[in-house]
Symmetry: C2
Subunit: 343 residues, 2 copies
């Protein structure tokens, strides 16, 4: 067992972790490990928003994005997911990851900035770009099992051994290296700027992003049914709550998305991604809101029933971003898209 | 809203509370307040253990205890509860509270020490005495509503206004004044000493005691039914787990007890009282063990359904005791009684 915080990111603490040195988690979990040379990563969400009637036309920008990713300095990993948003718009987001911000900057200038940054004429789409480029000290990952990485972890160097800081409330915070010295409290509130169908969001300090996913690819028929019948509906209620009423508890925007493959068809993976006023707001919802207590209870019942034989894979990545590590722009999007809901 | 830690017990912190200054709990709760002159309290559990066939004979020592409490320097408050223990013994515990350890010492020397300290001949009972005398900095209380005190709070000066440190995991710890400067980690492990039917337990540092109760006296018929049908059975499963398998998660002994009135008959109040290796062990069970997650879920569902109209009263008191604040003795008790299970 090892600490989720790698040795080279350990600092003299001014704040304590929530559990003692003797804490032993009741089941294993793992975190992504980067090479010590990696100081900053980039998580870029390129969104396309359209009405169902325009589905066919959407393939052009989606294909352009794929082509762009193959260019020099393109992402180390990307994937794509979709959902229908609260206003009824189809939304396909292509998510790309880099572990070198210089390469990202180079790529973005040539291929990425145009996505939502350039004016579009005569296309029935909204475009948005939501980017975090956190210091390595400002995010954490967690995986329930080894063997198949997701998200930022795909561009990491590998996976840790079993880590200590999980399976208790507060583990998420304790896995973020910056928690050794900072409470990561939010400061300020997001503001919008722009006009004529182009808006940017001027962010605030210590905004929080979570991407939390499940992969039932490997489940056999009975486990799949248990997941789809007993867990997924409870998860959906919680995700619906965050999408529709999340502002009441500090969740600016939430998307419960289904991962799609290269052919655009759904695969057996989903995730929720949500923007939060702060890590604390996310903690409070997760720990005490009835919708997440129900999710936690359903997941626990499921995992207790299956034990180590469970083939469901769970993972998440959580970032607390400084204001200057955030970038949001929305073009031709409806006025409650993503972080626009927060302003 | 105010801090659960009264001003006169605030110290320069070396450890942070789990929530920020801006945290606002989603519903009210209150804590007991002592006069600043109170530096230490006493919680004394006088247990009587017998087989059901000897019930009638049990009335004599129970009456003697009541008489003794009326003597000079007797407790400021006492109550009584019973349960059938895991070995099948009836157990009646009379619990007495003082807010002045000098008065307790005086009373105990004259009237209390004999309870389990003196040899008994020809009585079919076991006697045990379990006492904590914590510094005021080493315990906390919590009440869901004002108006009817229980336990140590009855000898307090009154109740606080709504407090900030509750309704999140870690609130219990944050309400204990000593948490400002100590992690309250356990040190050592309990040892037994004695022979010939008289055993004492030599305690370890930072043992933890919780008494956590519910009072459905004021509920109307429909709320009472909801509590008894939907909450109590889930609570009982958790209490049974702690009683029978608690050692697996650091719970030395657990008693799920029904309060009895002056006539010995049950009233509409119950509580769990349990001895724990540490506050951390209690935290981990409460936060993540399936049995308590189920209790938490059932209680939350109940309180969500009823809203502010709920008449169920909930309270608890939690102490983390230094080794020299503990006293345990067992006479003629079966070998797994109370803290004897821990050694």
């Amino acid at each position: 067992m090892e600490s989720a915080i790698p040795d080279h990111l350990k600092t003299a603490r001014t704040r304590h972790p929530r559990v003692g040195d003797d804490y032993v988690p009741p089941y294993p979990a793992f975190v992504a490990r980067h090479k010590p040379s990696v100081a900053r990563v980039v998580m870029a969400y390129f969104g396309l928003q359209f009405l169902a009637a325009d589905e066919q036309a959407a393939s052009a920008p989606l294909e352009q994005a794929v082509t762009a990713f193959k260019a020099e300095d393109g992402p180390g990993h990307w994937d794509r997911a979709r959902y229908t948003d609260e206003a009824g718009y189809e939304t396909i987001i292509t998510i790309a990851y880099w572990d070198d911000p210089a390469r990202f900057d180079s790529w973005f200038a040539s291929y990425g900035a145009a996505w939502a940054g350039e004016d579009k004429t005569n296309v029935p789409f909204g475009f948005f770009t939501e980017i975090l480029r956190p210091s390595i000290t400002r995010y954490e990952t967690l995986f329930s099992s080894a063997g198949r990485m997701e998200g930022i972890a795909v561009v990491a160097d590998g996976l840790s051994d079993m880590v200590q800081e999980h399976a208790y409330w507060g583990g998420m915070r304790d896995r973020i290296p910056l928690s050794q010295t900072s409470d990561m409290a939010p400061a300020g509130s997001p503001q919008a700027t722009g006009a004529n169908g182009y808006l940017r969001v001027v962010p605030h300090e210590n905004l929080c992003l979570i991407r939390s996913g499940q992969d039932w690819t490997d489940t056999d028929a009975s486990e799949r049914q248990l997941y789809l019948d007993d867990v997924e509906p409870v998860l959906r209620v919680g995700m619906d709550f965050l999408r529709d009423e999340g502002l009441s508890c500090g969740c600016f925007a939430s998307r419960y998305m289904r991962v799609v493959g290269a052919d655009g068809k759904s695969v057996e993976k989903s995730f929720g991604m949500s923007w939060w006023k702060s890590l604390s707001a996310l903690e409070r919802w997760a720990e005490s809101h009835p919708t997440h207590v129900a999710i936690f209870g359903a997941a626990m019942k499921y995992l207790m029933a299956l034990g180590p034989s469970a083939k469901l894979r769970l993972y998440h990545e959580v970032t607390v971003a400084a204001a200057d590590e955030q970038f949001f722009e929305y073009r031709n999007c409806h006025p409650k898209t993503g972080m626009l809901r927060a302003v």
